[in-house]
């Protein structure tokens, strides 16, 4: 039995840990979506976190915990700076602005060759991420987000998502809450990037481009944003699907796009939708927050 587990782990440990980092990414975009914003910058924030922490551990010899903190703080800071002008935008315009920002980040990484290794990427990142780091990160992020949901901040996010004007007139600082969701999402994406970089030995700029952004969005939309299980479930499916259908591997992006289209058409609220679960007997929602 132990042998079997050992065997399983040596073959699949990377996949299991990728599940964890993908769950973090899905949760990071869940935050902005739960506040009604379609911000597509999470792949870029992941990249900023990955590069910041990798450069710190490789070149500056920082200890891993400090590098993790920096890998979260840096994207949050960048989010704060670009959020000031862009979060005024809504809908498609916000998506366009954040996509353009992502492209700028990718090109900057390629240009800053002396620091980032340019298009060739960073090689030889110390493999510091342990399996329990990823598990702890997912548990902690789920805990924080669950607490937020059950508080006035979570209700403010939901109010803003439903009607920004009405939310403002209920005394909610709309811009402040949007900024909180954006920066916190960036920090979580940075955490995922940091853990991922110290797991895979190598990072390159193309990992944090448009494809990754769409993949993150696909995971969360597929799972649904009505609860925290949705994004986790979505990340599970999107990560495992190419492994299960290994012949699809070359068409991964195609599969992601197809999933996104099908979900938007047939399950606009995602797979994990409390509405149909509430219809099951004995599960009627009681009290305030789900």
């Amino acid at each position: 039995m132990i042998d079997y587990l050992d065997n399983f782990w040596s073959v699949y440990s990377n996949l299991v840990l990728t599940l964890g980092t993908n769950a973090l990414l899905a949760l990071s975009i869940y935050l902005t979506l739960s506040c009604g914003m379609l911000a597509m910058a999470n792949a870029a924030f992941m990249g900023i976190g990955a590069y910041t922490s990798a450069i710190l551990t490789m070149n500056c010899g920082w200890p891993f915990p400090a590098a993790i903190a920096a890998g979260m703080a840096m994207p949050a800071l960048v989010a704060f700076i670009i959020g000031k002008p862009t979060l005024r935008l809504s809908g498609v315009y916000l998506a366009m602005a954040t996509l353009a920002f992502g492209e700028v980040v990718r090109l900057l990484i390629i240009r800053a060759e002396s620091l980032t290794g340019g298009a060739l990427g960073l090689n030889g990142i110390p493999q510091l991420t342990q399996w329990w780091h990823v598990l702890l990160a997912v548990v902690l992020v789920l805990f924080v987000l669950a607490r937020l949901r059950r508080s006035k901040i979570g209700r403010a996010f939901e109010a803003i998502k439903e009607d920004e004007t009405a939310a403002g007139l209920m005394g909610i600082d709309v811009n402040g809450h949007k900024m909180l969701a954006f920066a916190l999402g960036a920090a979580i994406a940075g955490l995922a990037g940091t853990l991922d970089a110290h797991l895979t030995f190598f990072i390159g700029p193309q990992e944090f481009g448009f494809d990754r952004g769409v993949e993150i969005l696909t995971m969360t939309i597929l799972g649904g944003i009505n609860s925290l299980f949705g994004p986790v479930l979505g990340s599970l499916i999107v990560t495992l699907l190419p492994e299960l259908l290994s012949s699809l591997k070359d068409y991964r992006a195609v599969a992601n796009g197809l999933i996104l289209v099908l979900i938007v058409l047939f399950l606009p609220k995602g797979l994990w939708n409390p509405d149909w679960m509430r219809r099951l007997p004995g599960l009627r929602k009681k009290g305030v927050a789900p």
Binding site: R147, L148, K152, E158, G168, M170, K286, G287
Partner: protein, 265 residues
């Protein structure tokens, strides 16, 4: 300072269009007063200026002597003004209780540690909020459906929910934008009673309304707006007999002007 709300020579232009010109009026604390006028007279614009959704082109708006100019909507709400909307804007995917608790946002002052670890302070505040929300819902006769989704409410009940939600912000001044639009006469009579009850609890109410019987029955003071200008001001009797008002607005067979939801501005 005896006046709660005071508008002084407020104008608002949209390009060359002068929607409001030199509008001045006051609302005394503890009263129910109203603003009436034909469709398109600029009534909702007045509300949007008071609540900070629009900025006046010229003039000043003060709440208990403090100017509201340049403040964001949420800051104005926090200083004590709450409103409802002509085209209802409840949070449809939340329960009634959640809708009302959203209005208490500012009054839930547990810190981040309290919230993260569900400390006693957080739990006490959340419980107080739920109790208060149920009380406010009971004022509007909605407490029996507190856990239903707001989307399932009838039109009249949605309007009443908006009032409960506005009261949750603990306002000094409650602005009602056509509270009985789309209601039948039974609902109107019931709402009338509930609004008087709200006033008795110490709130000041200022409303825009088309329904003359409703306004005349409730308001102590009425201002009349026509083509962006205040043409009359006074008690119900005075307004009823004002020749200018009769010409602009009341000169019809029936004393109820037909209401089209979504009209106005």
């Amino acid at each position: 300072m005896s006046e709660l709300l005071e508008l002084t020579n407020v104008s608002r232009h949209f390009g060359g269009l002068k929607v409001l010109q030199d509008v001045s009026f006051t609302v005394r604390p503890g009263t129910i007063s109203g603003l009436i006028g034909p469709n398109g007279a600029g009534k909702t614009t007045v509300f949007n200026l008071i609540t900070g959704l629009l900025a006046p082109t010229t003039g000043d708006i003060t709440l208990a002597g403090a100017s509201l100019l340049g403040r964001k909507p949420h800051a104005i709400t926090r200083s004590g003004i709450a409103r409802t909307f002509q085209n209802i804007r409840i949070f449809k995917e939340m329960t009634l209780l959640e809708n009302v608790i959203v209005g208490m946002h500012r009054h839930l002052d547990y810190g981040v540690p309290g919230l993260m670890f569900a400390l006693p302070k957080y739990r006490a505040a959340e419980k107080r909020a739920r109790d208060r929300a149920r009380e406010l819902l009971s004022w509007m006769k909605l407490d029996h459906m507190a856990d239903d989704l707001a989307d399932n409410l009838s039109y009249g009940a949605q309007r009443r929910l908006e009032i409960a939600r506005a009261l949750a912000t603990e306002p000094r001044l409650l602005l009602l934008d056509e509270p009985v639009a789309g209601m039948n006469s039974t609902e109107k009579t019931a709402l009338m009673r509930e609004i008087v009850n709200i006033q008795c609890r110490g709130y000041t109410i200022f409303m825009i309304e088309h329904d003359m019987r409703f306004v005349m029955g409730l308001c102590e003071e009425i201002s009349v707006l026509n083509f962006g200008k205040i043409i009359a001001h006074g008690g119900p009797e005075q307004i009823r007999n004002d020749p200018q008002v009769i010409e602009a607005y009341l000169g019809r067979e029936d004393d109820e002007v037909s209401v089209t939801p979504g009209a106005g501005e």
